[in-house]
């Protein structure tokens, strides 16, 4: 077991512990907690401390210890949770999480908030006026180097009379004697052992006289450390008579130390609970499993396909094969996908810090924390999101005075959300601030020579100037954003993972930055359908329901405008086969899939057949081909054929404005 592997485990575990801690704090913040919540936070901090010590992360240990002490007070009800305490422990959690991150690169570094939060924590410890345990508590006490000094090696003689509790606690006298080394003579006085009839198992009867050569008293004391309180240990001075002639003697063989050290067993890797895997291996595995599934389908087809009866045993084995192959596929697919929750929790910290640094009250809301995306993407989103959120607080939200001047709530809101959007992951950072000051952006861009003075730009074009290299809207360098990183860097890092960033902004109402990531690997729930001769997938996220309608319910308003009557409401029909150019004839019979657009409008997609719902792996088309209107990505079905994943929003846009829109509310049951 290498130190690196252990560290990797430690940091992976810390991530989970920080998550547990954050979750607990959230519950406390939401006023939805009990004693187990505080306990869970305490345990998380405690575990981090315990393991961190092993790696010598002293700063982390010291901080965790203070924090834990305060949590312990809360746990034992000597400190109540009020707004102040909650604030301090929330900040302490932030600092601890940051310390964990720092420990991976710079173990002795302290985040800026370290000292103030430490002071706050100490405040609670001292107000309770309890002696603070010394830091050296964490020295490995049991194995501390022996104190140097006057304690010269000599011969030590003791008398040891263990109680029954000594035996009950799993001790054996010989074991302690053995630990003392080779030069031990032990004599047992068994005289006090009563007859069996009077024997009491709860009493220790044996008394041992020991002579230990070449040891100091403290060394001997150390060997008996665990036996303290479990019997009588008397240190006999030199002039005391040596034990002589007991009536009955039981000689104890003290085995000589073995000539060679006990042979270490062949080093086996410890049973690791998390693995770090090269993503390329996972890719290979995913592809190979895909092949396995196809192979299974081919075999099934070959055996079952010709219509002749199949030997039941073969059929059953084939079923097993199918089942196992699917199991493997599912397991493999889940390896890389992770919910964005932990990323969002880290971002909560960023927002809090930004709020503190700028003196703005910020409420941070998250949505879609359970959205699963590729772990590598999660990692690479951290930096751009950090910057975008800081920007949202620093530049997006108005100062408290300015907010007061309008009728906005003094507390600004910054929202971070994630969702699957038909083969893409959409992440949005929005604020309820003043919106982009386009006049200022344009002025600045002209001043910087980014655009010519007489240029006539649309609002969107002006907004996008924010992404121009080196652009920064702050007239003065602020604490937060004055780090020489502009939105251009954000855009570059998003683009480098295959994503796009767009801005929408409304004067006085705020701005929204939308990141759209086309995933090379993500899991999506979809309904498999036939459109003309093609098999396609409609993402489930946008689907309200599937409908097999009678022909009475399909009404032609004009040759290009058909609607479906659903519970009294009329829903525009979008016929996929002609829309995608697969066929010219109309499909007026359905079945239909009701989807809801982002605008809230409902449409009925006409398809030729609805097969089943399943989880699919998204395969990008853009790597080898390019974007296709109405299509977001592809997937590979069990038979090895590729099915395209439709992008409902894009299909609705493709269909054009012919169709009248209807609202979900009218359709809903």
């Amino acid at each position: 077991m290498s130190m690196d592997a252990l560290k990797a485990t430690f940091f992976a575990e810390c991530e989970e512990l920080v998550e547990a801690m954050t979750e607990g704090l959230q519950q406390i913040g939401d006023d939805d907690w009990g004693s187990e919540t505080v306990n869970a936070i305490f345990r998380a901090v405690h575990s981090i401390k315990g393991s961190a010590g092993a790696f010598g992360f002293e700063t982390l240990v010291a901080f965790a210890h203070r924090y834990e002490t305060v949590l312990d007070k809360i746990r034992s009800n000597t400190l109540g949770i009020d707004a102040d305490v909650l604030r301090v422990i929330t900040r302490a959690s932030d600092v601890l999480a940051e310390l964990v991150e720092l420990a991976q690169v710079e173990p002795d570094a302290k985040p800026a908030a370290y000292d103030p939060v430490m002071t706050d924590l100490n405040g609670y410890i001292e107000t309770a006026a309890e002696p603070e345990p010394e830091e050296d508590l964490f020295a490995p006490v049991a194995f501390a180097a022996l104190p140097l000094g006057l304690d010269e090696p000599e011969d030590v003689r003791i008398e040891f009379a263990p109680d029954a509790s000594f035996y009950r606690n799993g001790h054996e006298p010989e074991r302690i004697f053995t630990a003392l080394g080779p030069d031990v003579s032990a004599v047992c006085d068994a005289d006090t052992v009563p007859l069996l009839s009077d024997f009491n198992v709860d009493t220790g009867y044996l008394v041992w006289s020991l002579e230990i050569k070449g040891k100091t008293e403290s060394e001997v004391a150390e060997a008996f450390e665990y036996a303290k309180g479990l019997g009588r240990i008397d240190y006999l001075s030199d002039d005391a008579p040596a034990p002589v002639g007991p009536v009955s003697e039981i000689a104890v063989e003290v085995p000589a130390p073995p000539s060679t050290q006990a042979k270490p067993a062949k080093a086996r890797p410890a049973s690791a609970q998390t693995l770090r895997i090269d993503p390329e291996r996972v890719d290979r595995l995913i592809n190979t499993v895909g092949e396995l599934i196809i192979n299974q389908a081919v075999i099934a087809q070959k055996i079952e396909g010709d219509g002749t009866p199949v030997d039941p045993e073969v059929a059953s084995a084939l079923d097993d094969y199918r089942y196992l192959a699917r199991e493997i596929q599912e397991a493999v697919m889940s390896i890389r996908a992770q919910p964005v929750k932990s990323l969002f929790q880290r971002m909560a910290r960023v927002v809090r810090e930004a709020g503190e640094a700028t003196g703005k009250a910020v409420s941070f809301e998250t949505r879609g924390e359970a959205t699963e995306i590729d772990k590598t993407l999660i990692e690479r989103l951290a930096d751009p999101l950090t910057h975008m959120l800081r920007n949202a607080v620093d530049h997006g939200l108005e100062s408290p005075e300015d907010r007061a001047a309008t009728d906005k709530h003094a507390t600004g809101t910054v929202t971070l959300s994630a969702a699957h959007r038909s083969g893409h992951v959409m992440i949005e950072v929005s604020d309820d601030g003043a919106g982009l000051d386009r006049a200022r952006i344009l002025k600045k861009a002209i001043a910087n020579g980014l655009v010519a003075e007489d240029t006539n730009l649309s609002d969107t074009e002006i907004d996008n100037l924010l992404f121009a290299p080196g652009f920064s809207t702050a007239d003065q360098v602020t604490n937060l954003s004055g780090r020489g990183v502009g939105m251009d860097v954000v855009k570059t890092s998003i683009t480098s993972i295959g994503g796009r960033v767009t801005i929408t902004s409304e004067q006085g109402r705020g701005s929204t930055f939308t990141i759209l990531l086309p995933l090379t690997l993500a899991v999506l729930d979809g309904i498999v359908v036939s459109v003309a001769d093609e098999t396609m997938v409609v993402p489930i996220a946008t689907i309200i329901e599937t409908i097999r309608a009678s022909s009475d319910d399909v009404i032609e308003l004009s040759p290009d405008n058909w609607v479906l009557k659903v519970r009294g409401a009329y829903v525009p029909i979008i016929d996929l086969a002609p829309l995608l150019g697969f066929r010219t004839e109309r499909n007026a019979a359905g079945p239909f899939i009701l989807v809801e657009a982002e605008t809230g409008a409902v449409y009925a997609f006409a398809v030729d057949e609805i097969w089943d719902q399943r989880q699919i792996v998204i395969k990008s088309l853009e790597g080898n081909y390019g974007a296709i209107p109405g299509i977001s990505a592809a997937t590979i079905l069990g038979d090895g054929q590729i099915a395209l994943i439709v992008d409902p929003e894009a299909l609705i846009a493709l269909a054009g404005p012919t169709a009248m829109t209807s609202h979900k509310q009218k359709v809903g049951a």
């Binding site: 088309l621 080898n624 390019g626 590729i642 395209l644």
Partner: protein, 154 residues
């Protein structure tokens, strides 16, 4: 982009293939594998020479009818047709051709410049000629092919 293939001192290796009944060859380094024809999934809004996409061990790759792409009309269905999988600057494509025949080694001076070379708008894909067994093999510039394909897709 063309010089590396044509004017190297060492002999270059090419794979000769037939599309539209005519002989072509492509740089052997671009070819990843050769597969028999399997049904493809049609792509909406694709130009006619893009037949669709197929699954190559978990990757989605577009299949292009080479004959059609060269302006020689669509390849007729035939079970002997093969797909040449090529790697081009990080992208993988499949080219439908009628046959793949052999690997040929050509000295640098064995490649003649294309007399009808690149004019505006016309296939810049032919970058040279190789004379062999009384037949003229046209050397295909696959990078040019791929770029044309990208423009279509975008």
């Amino acid at each position: 982009m063309t010089d590396s293939n044509v004017s190297a001192d060492q002999p270059s290796e090419f794979v000769s293939l037939t599309a539209g009944g005519q002989g072509f060859c492509v740089d052997i380094h671009a070819i990843r594998e050769i597969r028999s024809w399997t049904p493809v999934t049609t792509l909406p809004f694709a130009e006619p020479s893009v037949l669709g996409v197929m699954n190559l061990r978990g990757a989605v790759i577009p299949i292009i009818d080479l004959k059609d792409r060269l302006g020689l009309g669509a390849t007729s269905e035939d079970h002997r047709n093969v797909i040449v999988i090529v790697n081009l600057s990080g992208r993988t494509l499949g080219l439908l051709v009628e046959a793949v025949s052999e690997i040929i080694s050509v000295p640098a001076d064995g490649i003649l410049p294309n007399p009808t070379s690149a004019t505006e708008g016309n296939p810049a894909q032919i970058i040279g000629l190789i004379s062999r067994d009384n037949q003229m093999l046209r050397v295909l510039d696959l990078t040019g092919l791929a770029m044309a394909e990208t423009e279509d897709a975008a």
